[in-house]
């Protein structure tokens, strides 16, 4: 890799490394022509996908060059360890400043008003739904909830950059992706309440959404398990020539799991059209990033696997949009994975089971809520374009709250699915033994039904 070439980090080496890092790519793993054992040509690998398989180098004992199949690198006779570069890590791409002003006009995606308004409305509707459902858990109406406060930009910016048919594998804090894809409030609520309208048939805790129609794979609680799965799905999409990308969301905590390592490595070696989207929000429940990793975040791991990587300002919806858009284009065109680390902040608690004041200051949270929030930044942008004003803001707040409350009240009133749905879908067909168990419960309820909440369940 680049490290060998610059031979350690004196200041010059440091600078060299910084420039190199801005365009982190896979060039060092790209195949050298069989005849060449020279150092990796840094200019060729960038932006183009070299042949995936490392070819066998022509073996020549006359050259005093490394012959090892495992690495394409030069020898060095000076003993130096590579210093991990965490002090000044991979830079953070942004388009807007914290006041929503475009910094570099050539990076402005120049999206039409309608689209940007959809960004804004998706984020704010999500925010409103979060407030109401969080409250509803506090009141004992639903058993559990997770909010998305502060991360709405990561969801909407990335979702907007995808095709509607691109397959989404999420972790649990990506409801904005579904919101952007027009998943109805009724269905969000249905899943949280586990009522008869829940497509998931009441089997999982709240926020474990799934939607086949909108190509959003059902969420599961174990962390990072979706990562190698997303890679497999991307491989299948590649084989099918589907021109589809798969996007896989996960947090910086989940990125510590073995499944994350597995997924990255498989995606790179098997050349899969996948976007790995890491929401680095500073905390995994109470564990801050300083206790999660010692390297330069998640983006710095990408090149280690041979993956094109970038770090973006996750609270800047245009930066997220641009990065995802470009990653999508190239992932599909070049059949290679992309890693986007979106830096953001988890303003809310981890979940309704968490009180984050136990491990972080209210001041810290307020800073992000007030000074660097994806919704406010976009609102400033909209207002400066003349596409939004305080009057519309007031109206929209009222309207979105009303919509949410209506869906909420409806969801409350609906019953849960019939208890026999406890037994279906374990297999595609119900095995004989399981049918016996189902019948045994039905008989049991005939005698002891009064001790069970049958009134809340559909008959």
């Amino acid at each position: 890799m680049a490290y060998c070439s610059c031979g350690g980090l004196g200041f010059g080496g440091w600078l060299y490394l910084r420039i190199w890092i801005t365009f982190i790519g896979t060039c060092s793993t790209s195949v050298l022509p069989a005849a060449s054992l020279r150092s990796p040509d840094l200019s060729t690998g960038l932006g183009t996908k070299q042949h995936p398989q490392r070819q066998q180098q022509r073996f020549s004992s006359l050259d005093d060059k490394p012959q090892f199949p495992g690495a394409s690198a030069e020898f060095i006779d000076k003993l130096e360890f590579i210093q991990p570069n965490v002090i000044s890590g991979i830079p953070i791409y942004r388009v807007m400043d914290r006041q929503g002003q475009i910094i570099n006009p050539s990076e402005d995606p120049n999206l039409p008003q309608e689209k940007v308004l959809k960004f804004y409305k998706s984020m704010t509707l999500l925010n409103t739904m979060d407030r109401i459902l969080y409250e509803s858990q506090r009141q004992g109406r639903i058993s559990f909830y997770m909010t998305n406060y502060g991360e709405e930009g990561t969801h909407v910016g990335s979702a907007a950059a995808l095709d509607n048919t691109d397959l989404v594998f999420g972790q649990y804090r990506e409801a904005g992706v579904l919101m952007y894809r027009d998943y109805p409030l009724e269905l969000f609520m249905a899943q949280c309440y586990g009522n008869v309208s829940d497509l998931g048939k009441g089997r999982q805790m709240p926020v474990h959404y799934g939607c086949k129609e909108r190509h959003f794979v059902t969420i599961s609680s174990p962390l990072a398990t979706q990562i190698p799965q997303a890679v497999g799905a991307a491989y299948a999409a590649k084989r099918a020539n589907a021109n589809r990308v798969v996007i896989c969301y996960f947090g910086e905590g989940a990125a510590s799991e073995g499944d994350a390592h597995a997924g990255f490595n498989f995606a790179a070696t098997l050349e899969c059209p996948i976007i790995f989207f890491c929401r680095n929000n500073g905390y995994a429940i109470s564990t801050p990033t300083s206790e999660q990793y010692r390297g330069d975040g998640i983006a710095a791991r990408g090149p280690g696997y041979g993956i094109m990587s970038i770090r973006v300002d996750g609270n800047d919806v245009f930066a997220v949009y641009n990065a995802t858009k470009e990653a999508r284009r190239r992932a599909v065109a070049e059949n290679q994975p992309f890693l986007i680390e979106a830096m953001t902040y988890r303003i809310g608690h981890h979940s309704t089971s968490d009180d984050s004041s136990a491990y972080r200051s209210v001041d810290e949270v307020n800073y992000w809520d007030k000074q660097d929030h994806p919704i406010s930044r976009l609102r400033h942008y909209l207002q400066s374009r003349g596409w939004w004003d305080d009057e519309q803001e007031k109206d929209w707040r009222k309207q979105s709250r009303k919509k949410v409350m209506e869906a909420f009240e409806q969801a409350e009133r609906k019953p849960k699915p019939n208890f026999s749905l406890l037994f279906s879908d374990v297999y595609q067909e119900m095995p004989a033994q399981l049918r016996k168990q189902q019948e045994s419960l039905a008989r049991h309820l005939q005698t002891y039904g009064e001790h069970y909440p049958l009134d809340h369940f559909e008959k």
Partner: protein
């Protein structure tokens, strides 16, 4: 499908028996433990050839089948996938990095899109890193999504069971760990003919399946196998020998042991044994086993895996519930000891025919 059939028949070496016929003759019948034929003893080595079932198959099947795992590309450490890459291409038959959790997770992802994935785990002993993906993900995919999503087109294959010298990490039979997991199917064949039919059924089954292949039988078992594809149903045990006095149940290699025990019992004790190959561990065929025990009144279950928590306990528990008044003797389990699988002590560890015979004798005399 041809890929699958080819894989199924890759499980054993085949001697080209000359031209003609749609049957390919394979070496010998399923052999009891310890009776491994030395390779090519007294045979012309040049006549030994790789199984080439796929060359006799028409190739109309859909192009979505892929097979992958560690070392699958060159043919696999047990040669199960030899020739497939040349025939089907490198995007369908390929190596993965050395990572079982990745192999299974990746396979699940392929299956979620509807394509068929055949994931190979190099030894069943190494399946444990994938346990989370199998139990928490694959098994629950359909249920937790309300049938919006599933990974039914995933089959995981792994060499399984003792082989004479495998020791701690090349001999394990982990079926009991997975038996406790609703949502997957676990299948163990006893012979080449069974292997092909059961594997094809697993691959076509709309639920994620684990197919454990008794590795000792890769070499030792030889049998006539039809060239065309055929299915053997899952969750159906097979009564391979009828009898009236004792029911013997096993799966995989151990079926051959109990079959020999059945002859010993007939010869030395005049006892008639009903021999059942369970074939599918979950969901298992309760009816066939119970029907047999109702007839015979005695049950002996045998497996290599350790006694405690082994699958014999599930069978025993269910049978005593269903057939209590029919039992003439306590149900007998002849299993491996509650130790890791030893190396030099293997001959003492395994539930061989003498231990099974002795347990049977005690049951008869109860």
């Amino acid at each position: 499908m041809a890929v699958a059939a080819a894989i199924a028949c890759r499980l054993l070496r085949l001697r080209a028996a000359g031209a003609g016929g749609h049957w390919r003759r394979l070496r010998g019948a399923g052999l009891p433990r310890g009776f491994l034929q030395p390779a090519s003893a007294g045979e012309d080595a040049a006549q030994w050839r790789r199984v080439a079932h796929f060359t006799f198959q028409p190739d109309p099947e859909p192009l979505e089948y892929v097979i992958f795992g560690e070392d699958v590309a060159f043919g696999g450490v047990f040669r199960c996938t030899v020739g497939l890459r040349d025939k089907y291409g490198k995007d369908r038959v390929f190596n993965t990095p050395l990572c079982e959790q990745g192999i299974v997770g990746f396979g699940i992802g392929i299956a979620v899109t509807g394509a068929t994935a055949i994931a190979e785990i190099q030894f069943a002993d190494y399946i444990f890193p994938a346990f989370d993906q199998i139990v928490n993900e694959a098994a629950k995919y359909r249920y937790r999504s309300g049938d919006l999503f599933n990974c039914g087109s995933l089959t995981i294959r792994a060499p399984w069971g003792c082989v004479g010298h495998g020791a701690v990490y090349h001999s394990q039979s982990p079926e009991a760990f997975f038996a406790h997991c609703p949502g997957i199917k676990v299948v163990v064949p006893r012979s080449p003919f069974q292997a092909k039919g059961l594997l094809l059924s697993c691959i076509e089954d709309k639920n994620p399946c684990i197919f454990f292949e008794p590795k000792i039988l890769y070499r030792a078992a030889v049998e006539q196998v039809p060239v065309e594809p055929y299915n053997i149903p899952l969750s159906q045990a097979e009564v391979i020998q009828e009898g009236s006095d004792v029911t013997l149940v096993a799966w995989g290699t151990q079926v051959h042991v109990i079959r020999e025990v059945a002859s010993m019992a007939q010869e030395k004790l005049g006892v008639s044994c009903e021999v059942i190959d369970l074939r599918t561990i979950i969901p298992w065929d309760v009816d066939t086993v119970c029907k047999s025990v109702i007839k015979t009144g005695r049950l002996l279950v045998s497996h290599e895996a350790p006694l405690t928590g082994g699958f014999a306990s599930e069978i025993s528990s269910t049978v005593q519930e269903e057939c209590f008044l029919n039992l003439e003797a306590p149900i007998s389990r002849v299993c491996g000891y509650d130790t890791p699988f030893p190396h030099v002590f293997e001959p003492f560890y395994i539930p061989d025919k003498w231990k099974c015979y002795d347990a049977l004798r005690k049951m008869i005399n109860y």
